[in-house]
């Protein structure tokens, strides 16, 4: 896309050590506004660790992460989410016991305008705020295509729809940038195709996207740029076609002896 767009997420020399184990070693890369960037690499390369560092679930041993110029070091996950940097999870990405609709309402937490007294006294502001949230929730469900499922318990949805549910939850936070952690793993081709459409729809609405995924065709299809991690280090960075032909990337994947693509 537009390579002159401003940098929104910058990861500078980030390292993560668990005891003696090095999970990420001096990782540096940027994501620019409006991009879809893929973060790939073999199992155990440190991709999810990178996500955890960026979203505040893990404190880096060294280095700095900045989002729109704001250093994220020391911020808690919910504070980072409030800055507009929102993630999804590989697994357990919905509130299992709630209905789909309640899930989205929960995700809309930050949009509520009422305070504790409003809730206790059930003031007009509380009622209006709740009504707005309900409307927004309905819009969001329509956006991801789950409006038919609104009253079903989220935990019993088919796998693909749970992923959609997870995205709807993340979108409820009104992100300016979305981090998707292996969103299509375990999906069948039809579900994947549906999901890719959704990602593009989100992207068109102005959201920057960073994506961790094993499904290579999907990554190649949607990403503007790809960053390749192996053993905690970045070994390549470039457009999908550049990456596909990069000998080191091929070696890394073949060396591990498995390719999920």
């Amino acid at each position: 896309m537009n390579s002159s767009a401003e940098t929104v997420l910058s990861i500078e020399n980030v390292s993560v050590h668990f005891g003696g184990l090095i999970a990420i070693d001096g990782m540096t890369f940027d994501v620019r506004s409006g991009e879809i960037v893929g973060l790939i690499g073999p199992n155990g390369a440190g991709k999810t660790t990178a996500f955890n560092v960026i979203t505040g679930f893990l404190r880096p041993t060294g280095g700095e992460v900045r989002y729109r110029g704001v250093p994220l070091n020391g911020l808690k996950p919910h504070e980072i989410a409030q800055l507009g940097l929102v993630r999804t999870f590989q697994r357990t990405s919905v509130f299992q016991e709630r209905t789909v609709f309640q899930n989205v309402l929960t995700g809309l937490h930050r949009s509520g305008r009422s305070n504790l007294w409003d809730m206790l006294l059930r003031t007009r502001r509380e009622k209006e705020s709740e009504r707005e949230l309900v409307e927004t929730a309905q819009d969001l469900l329509r956006f991801v295509g789950l409006e038919q499922r609104a009253s079903e318990q989220a935990g019993v949805l088919p796998y693909g729809e749970q992923r959609l549910m997870g995205v709807a939850l993340a979108l409820a936070v009104k992100p300016s940038m979305l981090l998707l952690d292996e969103p299509v793993s375990g999906m069948n081709p039809a579900e994947t195709a549906r999901f890719v459409k959704l990602v593009e729809k989100i992207h068109h609405s102005g959201v920057t996207i960073l994506l961790v995924e094993h499904d290579m065709p999907m990554v190649m299809e949607v990403c503007d740029r790809i960053v390749v991690l192996n053993y905690g280090r970045i070994i390549a960075e470039g457009t999908p076609s550049e990456i596909q032909n990069n000998p080191e990337v091929i070696r890394a994947y073949l060396g591990q002896g498995k390719k999920r693509a």
């Binding site: 668990f18 005891g19 955890n52 679930f57 893990l58």
Partner: protein, 290 residues
């Protein structure tokens, strides 16, 4: 000076039994992820076994300890098989609720069986204390101290040197992998709970003759065991050993020089301070979170 030395001696002697109490509890938590609220009741059970064996039945004092431990192990294994085995994989709050239920039932069963009246156990030791300079300590307590040390060392040996211990350690580190390697997790859990229970019963059987035996004695013992285990870090056996001695010193010196009324509060205060400033215990390395 003499008073200080006497306090230090008392604390050392007491620390041995505290460590014994703590190890049983921490072992069970470390390997099974179960907070054993029945620990105090197993302690009281050991003391009552001792009473029943020595006083009405007239069994040899030293033999009675061995039998009390065996009975403790048996009761522990029963609890594990009856209540915990079917809860494997349940979250920790669920097992805690079950253990609290078991604790209440056991304590009241003891009260029903023995009434609330405190009982006293005779010991075969000379009634004149052991005197070293200005210090004195009863022979019974000296015996208790050394037996406690022996049992602690025995536990270390069992865990570090035997086949069962190896399986326990493997389970402790990674339950799933251990299972894959052919370790029978069910058996390890039962054995662990039985071992922890035997240690608690041993502590009760040792201290019963020193103090008196009463149904509520388990509560205080359990409270101290929790403090010790938190001090050392849940699941840390070496930590529990040291924690036992630390608690004994803090209590004894606190009672001697600050206020004897707050003696039993010291442990709880330590728990709170430790958890606020070093949540994984004094001796644990920082665990990976998440």
């Amino acid at each position: 000076m003499d008073q200080l030395l006497q306090h230090l001696l008392n604390a050392t002697i007491l620390g041995g039994t505290y460590a014994l109490l703590g190890i049983g509890l921490t072992l069970i938590f470390g390997i099974m992820r179960v907070v054993n609220f029945t620990h105090g009741e197993l302690y009281a059970f050991g003391a009552y076994c001792m009473y029943a064996l020595v006083m009405p039945l007239g069994l040899n004092f030293f033999m009675a300890l061995v039998v009390a431990m065996a009975l403790g192990a048996l009761l522990g294994a029963t609890i594990e098989l009856l209540l915990l085995s079917r809860l494997r994989g349940a979250d920790i709050d669920t097992t805690m609720l079950v253990m609290i239920g078991a604790w209440i039932a056991l304590q009241n069963a003891e009260q029903l069986a023995w009434t609330g009246v405190a009982l006293s156990i005779n010991n075969p030791f000379p009634s004149e204390p052991l005197i070293v300079g200005p210090l004195s300590v009863s022979w019974n307590r000296v015996y208790v101290f050394f037996v406690a040390l022996l049992l602690i060392l025995g536990t270390y040996y069992l865990i570090n040197r035997t086949h069962l211990g190896k399986a326990m350690r493997a389970t402790f580190q990674d339950r799933d992998t251990a299972a894959l390697m052919g370790i029978r997790i069910d058996r390890i859990h039962t054995a662990t709970f039985a071992l922890g229970s035997a240690l608690a019963a041993a502590a009760g059987a040792l201290l019963g003759p020193v103090f008196v035996v009463a149904p509520t004695m388990g509560d205080l013992a359990a409270a101290k065991a929790f403090a010790i285990v938190i001090l050392g870090g849940l699941g840390n056996i070496k930590g529990a050993t040291l924690g036992g001695f630390i608690l004994a010193f803090v209590e004894e010196l606190g009672a001697g020089y600050i206020s004897s009324g707050y003696r039993d509060a010291m442990g709880f205060l330590l728990i709170i301070l430790i958890l606020l400033f070093r949540p994984t215990g004094l001796f644990a390395q920082k665990e990976r979170v998440g």
